[in-house]
């Protein structure tokens, strides 16, 4: 496990604070945030990227007591979000979000809805997606920045 003081040296800049590149997730930080764990070690399978995550009432009530990334995630999930979406919005690595989401679920701060494995071959789901897509017009209105 890496101590906080070693972090700066990990990117080859001993003694220098690691610069966080603008616009992309920093490479070293994930290991600190998740205390060196990898996604999926608890269950063996990483959460699918489309897994839906929603804050619980308890999680929102505890916001002030949560630290950093935990708080950001709970705050970002007032409405359901996918794991990938959270990673993109908070500029965290996907695997970091996976680990933290499992932590927060264990603590009762988040509900995590893992999609069932057979969905891709579910005829009724496929029909609904097809019918839904067909209603999309050729041209579009303005894009939203979020849901």
């Amino acid at each position: 496990m890496m101590a906080g003081g070693n972090a700066a040296g990990a990117d080859g800049n001993p003694g220098q604070p690691a610069a966080e590149p603008v616009g992309r997730a920093p490479a070293v930080r994930p290991f600190l945030v998740t205390a060196g764990r990898v996604a999926g070690t608890s269950t063996g399978v990483p959460l699918p990227v489309e897994t839906q995550v929603v804050s619980t009432t308890a999680g929102l009530a505890a916001l002030d007591r949560l630290s950093f990334e935990h708080r950001d995630i709970v705050a970002a999930c007032r409405r359901p979000q996918s794991v990938a979406e959270i990673a993109a919005r908070l500029r965290l690595h996907l695997n970091v979000v996976r680990v933290l989401a499992e932590d927060l679920q264990a603590g009762g701060h988040l509900s995590v809805y893992v999609p069932s494995a057979g969905t891709a071959r579910d005829v009724s789901v496929l029909r609904r997606v097809i019918d839904g897509l067909r209603t999309i017009p050729d041209s579009r209105g303005a894009l939203r920045d979020s849901d």
Binding site: M2, A25, V49, L94, V125, L133, D138, D147
Partner: protein, 199 residues
């Protein structure tokens, strides 16, 4: 769609009301073929970018202490979505098409309804890896030739021949900038997926 968005906007916070069932499709292809453009053309949110990988060797390794010499690769992955209805949401993931990203595809493609491999006919070999991948995993997919400036340099039959894709794999042209064109390309893939699921 506006009605749906409005209803969702008033949805109660804090976990009440189940989230939609998420389904996903993968948009793959070489550099600069129009993946981000295609996702953005049909997504209802501005496409987001996620950094998808930590290190190439670290996948599945417990000790992630940053040993010197380990290559850290971050791969940008596009991300968009389409609300089908309040209980069903389609996610689109745009992913680079190089062989060495295969480790990431396993993760991404798991459970996907299907894939669209975008091809620029000026650089056909850029898409071999993605085509191979979908073929081997038996994921329904189509090859979509992006008609840059409305032109396709090769006939579709030539593309099919050059890529050596199986007969059941649709090879189509589309325009990554046109919403309706991206929609129709995705529908081609979904019809394949449906036909397979019905068997």
């Amino acid at each position: 769609m506006t009605a749906t968005e409005g209803a969702r906007g008033r949805a109660p916070a804090a976990g009440r009301g189940a989230p939609p069932l998420p389904v996903k499709m993968v948009v793959a292809g070489g550099f600069g073929v129009g993946k981000t453009t295609a996702v953005g053309a049909i997504s209802e949110i501005r496409p987001l970018t996620t950094e998808a990988a930590i290190t190439e060797v670290a996948a599945g390794v417990d000790d992630l202490s940053h040993t010197p010499g380990k290559t850290t690769t971050t791969v940008a992955m596009d991300f968009g979505c389409i609300t089908i209805d309040p209980s069903l949401k389609l996610y689109l993931f745009g992913t680079p098409g190089q062989e060495r990203f295969g480790f990431m595809w396993d993760d991404l493609v798991q459970g996907a309804l299907g894939g669209l491999v975008i091809v620029d006919t000026r650089r056909l070999d850029d898409c071999y890896a993605a085509v191979d991948y979908f073929e081997h995993r038996q994921i329904p997919f189509a090859v979509a030739v992006n008609a840059f400036d409305g032109r396709v340099e090769h006939e579709l039959d030539d593309v099919r021949w050059a890529l050596d894709v199986a007969e059941h794999v649709p090879v189509i042209t589309f325009d990554a900038r046109e919403r309706g064109s991206v929609r129709d390309a995705l529908l081609v893939v979904l019809e394949l997926a449906l036909a397979r699921a019905e068997n």
